[in-house]
């Protein structure tokens, strides 16, 4: 069903892009080290980053080592794994939500949001050549172990069209539902109708991820993020 992929020659923009990313990543170490140290000192709570044995970022020329046989990179195209096919509506049930209504779709999509433990190699290769965090970690969003307290939480998200309030329900430390609780936008909230289900669990759909899905729905996401803060 999928076309075979003829390997095309490497191309200038792809090569340029790869070189640029490498250059920035490498420079990220030298250029941001002092700032990073300063910020690290300011934030005692931040987890210490593993100290690179040698900042030989050149040793990591490829963004991602792969478990599966991978084509040569960086000039190579993506691996031959995709299977384009026509699907009209493979998303999980995501009926248009009703503005200001109670949980519009969440209950239809209650799936554990946790990524399923996967049969990955027992110990991923520990490549400590990755550059330390760039200076911008001053905001110190070191990921804590996310412990969500059970309960119902609400948060607001702003958009230029108005604000949206999202509610999330936490049970057993997991988000079990997320829904639009208030829609104060000048238009109907149907434009974010698909999102609550996505927030709860993308696994409920037939796809792991959706591309191009979420830009217009920032308000809902911000509302969920706001609500999540309160659940911690």
């Amino acid at each position: 069903m999928s076309d075979s992929h003829n390997k095309r020659p490497s191309s200038s923009l792809v090569a340029l892009g790869a070189a640029a990313v490498l250059a920035v990543y490498t420079a990220g170490y030298a250029r941001t080290r002092s700032a990073a140290e300063r910020f690290a000192a300011q934030d005692a709570e931040r987890r210490p980053a593993p100290v690179p044995t040698t900042p030989t970022a050149a040793r990591a020329p490829e963004p991602v080592p792969t478990a599966a046989p991978a084509p040569p990179r960086p000039s190579a195209k993506h691996p031959d794994t995709k299977q384009p096919r026509k699907t009209s509506t493979v998303d999980s049930a995501s009926p248009p939500s009703i503005p200001t209504a109670k949980p519009p779709v969440a209950d239809t999509a209650l799936v554990s949001p946790a990524p399923a433990p996967a049969p990955v190699p027992a110990t991923p290769p520990r490549d400590t050549t990755a550059a330390p965090p760039p200076a911008a970690t001053d905001t110190a969003r070191a990921p804590e172990k996310e412990v969500l307290k059970d309960g119902l939480y609400f948060g607001w998200g702003k958009s230029r069209h108005g604000d949206i309030q999202a509610g999330i329900e936490i049970k057993g430390g997991r988000i079990t539902s997320a829904f639009i609780s208030e829609c104060l936008t000048q238009y109907s909230c149907s434009w974010v109708s698909a999102l609550p289900a996505q927030v709860v669990a993308r696994q409920s759909a037939n796809v792991d991820y959706v591309t191009g899905a979420t830009q217009s729905a920032n308000a809902f996401y911000y509302a969920v993020v706001d609500a999540l803060k309160k659940a911690k």
């Binding site: 790869a18 963004p63 970690t137 109708s193 991820y209 830009q215």
Partner: protein, 300 residues
């Protein structure tokens, strides 16, 4: 799963096997580094933050300005794409975007206009790059917009920080990098959303170690100009209308994102030709939902 709000969108990082026992601190540190890259790229490349390095660069005309590696590479790449498309894609459209109302931070709603008029006739050729000195000179007043480049670059940098974990996914508002395999030990499945129906997936792909980025006319609409969205045909200075969405698969998110935007501006025939010339795959949907694709993605 780790979610943060950054760069005008929500970024979700998922490392497969996150719940397994292992060196938690190391893993969390890697995720912190990945997130840190997003924040760093935003602080450097934001058009909405008057204090960003990008905005400070745009405040100086006709003099060489020393640029950080990050800003220099991002602008160099954007200019290269502009040259590839004869200026249909052009990062100097920032002032035009402002005039269409795209002048404020999505999260705060605060307007942060540059004060530079749109009609200066600026083109990408007015951005002079000096790789030896790592300086950038703007030959005339203009506002650079790295919207089609910066987020992809941040995704790529974050992917590097996460590389040791082999199997992971980065979702930055629908622009994706999918490494290794998913929780079922399969290549990741990615749905391309219907450009006119947010709840519908129009097509599904299977990918591994691939960036998947989509430029769609549904992403950001102008409040002030009827029918205008955020993708500009720089040749005419108006919203591009030949496509509704373009999805590109590439080894790098920066490449995928920029080429998706460039192909969007160019429209079906030249847009697909651009993707094929650069050896990446992509699908374009027009406003009438006609489908155009590179050879590797044409339906059998």
């Amino acid at each position: 799963m780790h979610t943060v709000a950054v760069m005008g969108t929500v970024v979700t990082i998922t490392v497969v096997g996150l719940d397994r026992s292992g060196d938690e601190a190391e893993r969390d540190a890697a995720i912190a580094r990945a997130v840190g890259w997003f924040e760093h790229v935003e602080s450097v490349c934001s058009r909405f933050d008057p204090d960003s390095e990008l905005r400070r660069l745009c405040a100086r005309v006709a003099e060489p300005v020393a640029a950080s590696s990050l800003l220099f590479e991002a602008i160099t790449f954007a200019i290269a794409v502009a040259a590839e498309t004869d200026g249909a894609f052009d990062p100097t459209v920032g002032a035009s975007l402002e005039s269409l109302g795209f002048d404020r931070d999505h999260r705060t709603g605060r307007a942060t206009p540059s004060g530079i008029p749109a009609a200066t006739g600026a083109r990408y050729t007015d951005v002079l790059l000096n790789p030896e000195q790592s300086t950038i000179t703007l030959a005339r007043p203009l506002v650079l917009d790295l919207g089609a480049v910066a987020k992809g670059l941040a995704i790529d940098l974050a992917a590097r920080a996460l590389a040791p974990f082999v199997n992971f996914a980065i979702d930055a508002g629908g622009d994706l990098y999918l490494a290794g395999r998913n929780g079922d030990d399969m290549p990741w499945s990615v749905g391309i959303r219907h450009p006119r129906d947010e709840g519908t997936v129009i097509e599904t792909l299977r990918v591994s170690d691939t960036a998947v980025c989509t430029s769609g006319d549904y992403e950001r609409w102008s409040d002030t100009t009827r029918g205008a969205h955020h993708i500009i045909d720089a040749r005419a200075g108006v919203t591009a209308t030949a496509a509704a969405s373009v999805t590109v698969l590439a080894p790098s998110a920066m490449v995928a994102d920029a080429l998706a935007t460039a192909a969007f501006v160019l429209g079906p025939a030249p847009g697909i030709a651009l993707l094929e010339r650069h050896g990446v795959d992509g699908v374009m949907l027009t406003p009438s939902l006609d489908r155009f694709a590179t050879a590797g993605m044409r339906d059998a």
